[in-house]
Amino acid sequence: MKLTDSIAPSPSVVARDVGKETVILDLASGLYFGLDPVGARMWRLMTGGMALAEVCDAMIEEYDVSRADLERDTLALVQQLLDKQLVMIR
């Protein structure tokens, strides 16, 4: 996985914002996953068609975080989502 990659939700996934958080339902497994407000913001940007580097560009304007930490956290979140088959690389 690279920062130039883009991701899309898996076809079996439904996601909804609740407050500032996001809950993801995998219809295939019936399991739920919650994202905190930062993760929820990443999810909305990532699934909105941006490449991961562009997601970092947007996030760094909104949060007090170093670019290196942000890129590491973004890739870590995407890896978790991939492991749970909630997203796929476009």
Binding site: D17, K20, E21, L27, Y32, G34
Partner: protein, 284 residues
């Protein structure tokens, strides 16, 4: 909404195919859900079979020989009807519900954790109840409306005398729980009420009533855990249900509530809950 007809008693014959869902209690199945050519079959082993139409609008219940009508009624009201409602795209939860501050508040928990006792506690102190076991919600009022359910409360024997003594208006019951019909001792709210808050009950690991506002994603998983869903494999229906619950979470306060499980403390628990509801209502 939902039509029900009782069929003559019959033995439970083996069913072709495997159930798509089995509910287990104390190591034994207590409910098995099957698909049929016409809809669904809900089997409660050694008690009754219920056939439900594919659209969830009609049901037919056949008791096993020697099983009384009260058992059929209780199974229909508490287990079959909420699943039928879910098949119709409505929200139904395992919860009790009472009227406070002009709205409704709900108590959600696993069986035996005090939902009915809390509802009875409110009802015995002048707060009308809407449901003791199944919460049915409809969109409305800028959020969700709690709909009135059956006008009765079922209580374990130790709770019965505490609230209603020997004067209560009772109906027959199929379990050790006694069913108490609404009456002078406790009033029933026949009108829908806007759901103001949901309290998810803890295990009683506290000396004082304690309230903790749930973060939204935790609230959502709590609601989903207590939801009735007849067909968990119908992805379109499950997705729509998920969206409705998200809207619900955004429209009502969701809290974790724990309190000591002693009858002596019930009035204090009631006061604490009413204070919580009233305080928040003033902020709206």
């Amino acid at each position: 909404m939902a039509a029900f007809a009782q069929l003559p008693s019959r033995r439970q014959e083996p069913i072709d195919g495997l159930p798509y869902h089995i509910g287990i209690s104390d190591g034994a199945p207590w409910i098995e859900l099957f698909r049929t050519g016409k809809g669904y079959l809900l089997r409660f082993p050694d008690l009754a079979d219920f056939e439900v139409s594919a659209d969830g609008c009609r049901a037919w219940g056949a008791p096993v020989p020697q099983i009384c009508d009260a058992t059929i009624e209780a199974l229909f009201l508490n287990q079959v009807l909420p699943r039928m409602l879910s098949r119709q795209g409505k929200l139904a939860f395992h919860a009790s519900c009472v009227e406070v501050a002009g709205g409704a508040i709900a108590f959600l928990a696993e069986t035996g954790r005090g939902k009915s006792t809390l509802a009875a506690n409110f009802a015995a102190n002048g707060y009308r109840f809407l449901s003791d076991d199944t919460l049915w919600l409809e969109p409305g009022g800028g959020g969700y409306l709690a709909m009135p359910s059956h006008p009765s409360i079922r209580l374990w024997p130790d709770s019965q005398g505490i609230f209603f003594g020997s004067q209560a208006n009772t109906a027959s019951s199929s379990t050790a729980k006694g069913r108490f019909l609404a009456g002078a001792e406790f009033a029933y709210c026949e009108q829908p009420r806007r759901l103001l808050a949901a309290y998810f009950l803890g295990e009683g690991q506290t000396q004082q009533p304690s309230f903790q506002l749930l973060n939204p994603s935790d609230a959502m998983t709590h609601w989903l855990r207590h939801a009735f869903l007849l067909d968990c494999e119908d992805h379109m229906l499950v997705g729509a249900h998920f969206n409705q619950v998200a809207t619900l979470v955004n429209s009502a306060r969701c809290l974790h509530l724990d309190y000591p499980r002693s009858y002596e403390d019930l009035k204090q628990v009631l006061s604490a809950i009413v204070d919580d509801v009233s305080t928040e209502s003033l902020k709206i």
